[in-house]
């Protein structure tokens, strides 16, 4: 077939009449322009290939459904379809951005598992049981306030109601409990950090 003489319009007509080769001729004639156009927008061979394919699937479906109105503007029509698909692609990516993990920044430094590893968990458990032993050395009133505040998560208002002392007294006992606890830790040369 001599492509230079046959117009797009007559190729489209041939295709609609059932000549499948006409589609091949149309694709051959315009593939470079359409492909380059898509590539110039997305700069990715794989995505270009996908959009190129989707463009022609749309072209084929529209032609076969008889929805194409012949105005002798085949190429601009196909370009418009590919342009719309490029826009769709960017919209989709904006909604669900993909992260390319090839640069200096490693996504897993942000997405790391926040849980402690087995060793640190053991240390943490050990420290907690040590502290529970240490607080037993505090005077009874301070121990009571500290236990209510830290282990039972009570507010100072609730503590004052339960123990029958003012809020300020409860606060003071808590303060002395912490000061005394630090003293005990220093005296025994303990290191209670993870």
């Amino acid at each position: 077939m001599n492509n230079t003489k046959v117009t797009d319009a007559s190729l489209v007509r041939d295709y609609l009449d059932g000549n499948e080769n006409a589609l091949g001729a149309l694709i051959n004639r315009h593939q470079h322009r359409i492909y380059s156009f898509i590539f110039s927008k997305v700069y990715d061979r794989a995505i270009t290939e996908d959009i190129f394919q989707d463009t022609f699937i749309k072209v084929i479906r529209t032609l076969k459904r008889g929805k194409y109105n012949e105005e002798g503007k085949f190429l601009p029509w196909v370009m418009r379809i590919s342009h719309n698909l490029v826009i769709d692609h960017f919209r989709k990516n904006k909604r669900m951005p993909k992260f390319d993990n090839s640069g200096d920044f490693n996504i897993f430094s942000v997405l790391s598992d926040g849980d402690l590893n087995a060793e640190k968990q053991l240390i943490k458990d050990q420290i907690e049981s040590d502290v529970q032993e240490l607080i037993k050395e505090l005077p009874a009133d301070q121990l009571e306030v500290l236990t209510m505040r830290i282990y039972k998560d009570m507010s100072f208002k609730e503590i004052s109601e339960r123990t029958g002392v003012s809020i300020n007294t409860a606060l003071g006992r808590m303060r002395y409990a912490l000061i005394n606890l630090r003293k005990i830790i220093e005296k025994r040369n303990l290191i209670l950090t993870n």
Partner: protein
């Protein structure tokens, strides 16, 4: 300033050799052959006959 150790291909150079893959074209031609639209009472149904 950082040195560039590789040649960045120019856009024009890149665009010159751009062609879709043969497989893509073949797929499209086969898709076209397989697709048929059946019309029934102003309704259109597509069927892919592979």
């Amino acid at each position: 300033m950082g040195k560039l150790y590789f040649k960045k291909p120019s856009k024009e150079e890149n665009l010159h050799h751009l062609q879709p893959k043969k497989e893509t074209i073949e797929f499209l031609l086969n898709y076209s052959k397989a697709l048929s639209v059946i019309e029934y009472k102003k309704m259109k149904f597509e069927s892919l006959l592979n």
